[in-house]
């Protein structure tokens, strides 16, 4: 392309993108809402799975382990489809939004449980001894010595997992939730737009994931000095 046409093209694209901004922002808002809804659910679900995973009786622990393996071995998209298409068959009619959020939380909760477990197990056995040696009960040692250290160690992997979660919200577009990715697709199909829309979409995601990543890295650095 010659310089003049290139500039025209750039001007065209930019003005078009700016025109679509309201739609994209709306989609972005939905993406954020899905993430904000799914994250606490996933964090809590992972915590719920943790106790049986670590110390439950054989049968329960086996069930949790099996669940985690299934989550590791099957795509999130299928799980979301299962919920969305399956629940109406048993008389439940949750919204697409709910299906998506629940699907994401169920899978990421499993991964988060493993993350928590890894962090706890990475705290040295000697810390347990040190706590018991001054007469603390196992529960007290866990609460005041092990858990705080595990929390500091979990920050890195946790940040990464949450970034994956935020990116996974794009999957709910497959069941019709009008989040950012589906919005992009709609814009392309309804106007004469081309792939530049998705460059804008990508930029939105990049801003969020970069911000979350930076935030967690800052938090990590605060404690990295001690451990």
């Amino acid at each position: 392309m010659r310089a003049a046409t290139r500039m025209d093209y750039a001007a065209q694209v930019t003005s078009f993108l700016l025109g679509q901004m309201p739609k994209l922002l709306a989609g972005f808002a939905v993406t954020l809402t899905v993430a904000v809804a799914a994250i606490p659910l996933a964090l809590a679900f992972g915590m719920l799975l943790l106790a049986p995973r670590l110390s439950g009786r054989g049968l329960i622990r086996g069930a949790v382990q099996a669940y985690i393996e299934v989550m590791r071995g099957t795509p999130l998209l299928l799980q979301i489809y299962l919920i969305y298409f399956g629940l109406p068959l048993i008389g439940l009619f949750p919204s697409e939004f709910t299906c998506g959020v629940v699907g994401i939380a169920l899978q990421h909760g499993a991964f988060l449980c493993e993350l928590y477990r890894g962090a706890i197990e990475s705290v040295s056995q000697r810390q347990w001894e040190a706590g018991r040696a001054i007469g603390m009960t196992r529960l007290a040692v866990f609460r005041y010595a092990i858990l705080p250290q595990a929390l500091m160690k979990v920050l890195g992997p946790l940040g990464n997992q949450l970034i994956v979660l935020i990116k996974d919200t794009s999957l709910v577009s497959a069941i019709g939730v009008m989040e950012l990715t589906l919005t992009g697709k709609m814009v392309i199909e309804r106007s004469a737009a081309s792939f530049e829309i998705f460059v804008a979409v990508a930029l939105f995601y990049l801003i969020v994931t970069a911000a979350v990543g930076a935030g967690f890295r800052l938090a990590e650095q605060r404690y990295a000095g001690r451990l």
Partner: protein, 215 residues
């Protein structure tokens, strides 16, 4: 086996075959791409390393589905009529390649500096140090996370269905929309994916236990 699942099993299994082909292509090509880029990112000059860092940062920060859509719409925009598989496959290769590159780069950089110093002390030329000292250890360090990444890539081939490429998940949704037997079909297809993925997942877990490199 439940009847609807049984009746549609051949169709679904052919979808599984497509998924396997896709997975094979994407995993192998993205691993190759990632190795090259990752190595460049570890040992290249300052501009090269900057480019690699940017590439990794950008691709890891956006959803693979968006990259697939980009690929799907970019090809015709530039005048190429590629079929859905090529477009989506290429996109996924570029995406997964970024993750492989990061793993390879950090593995190379984690080889203890003392080893490299020792090799230089023996008078080994730089290329040989790379080949005989750094790479073998980097590969050992990289294998567990690479297995994990391959596992993720295989699962992500299912997202191609959202963009319109036909594979196992696409086939599953087709069957369910026709028969409404959501539980049978989706659970059955999950089982198929599990059969494909579990060996890799188990191998990856086993490796994590075994490949702790003693320094």
């Amino acid at each position: 086996m439940p009847d609807v699942l049984a009746k549609n099993l051949p169709y679904l299994l052919s979808g599984a075959v497509m998924t396997l082909w896709l997975s094979l292509a994407v995993v192998s090509l993205s691993t190759a791409l990632g190795f090259i880029i990752g190595t460049l990112g570890a040992v290249g000059g300052r501009t090269t390393r900057a480019f690699v860092t940017a590439y990794i940062f950008i691709l890891r920060g956006i959803p693979v589905l968006v990259v697939m859509f980009l690929g799907y719409y970019a090809f015709p925009a530039f005048g190429y009529r590629a079929n859905a598989y090529v477009a989506v496959g290429a996109a996924q290769i570029v995406y997964a390649g970024a993750f492989v590159a990061e793993i390879v780069r950090s593995a190379i950089l984690s080889v203890p500096a003392g080893q490299i110093a020792a090799a230089r002390g023996l008078g080994m030329p730089r290329a040989k140090i790379l080949m005989h000292v750094v790479f073998p250890q980097a590969v050992r360090l990289a294998i567990p996370p690479l297995l994990n990444t391959s596992l993720t890539t295989i699962k992500q081939t299912s997202y191609a269905s959202v963009v319109g490429a036909w594979e196992l998940t696409y086939a599953a949704r087709e069957v369910v929309e026709r028969t409404l037997a959501a539980f049978q079909i989706f659970l059955g297809v999950m089982a198929i994916y599990f059969c494909i993925c579990y060996p890799l997942s188990a191998l990856s877990r086993w490796c994590e236990g075994r490949f702790v490199v003693a320094h």
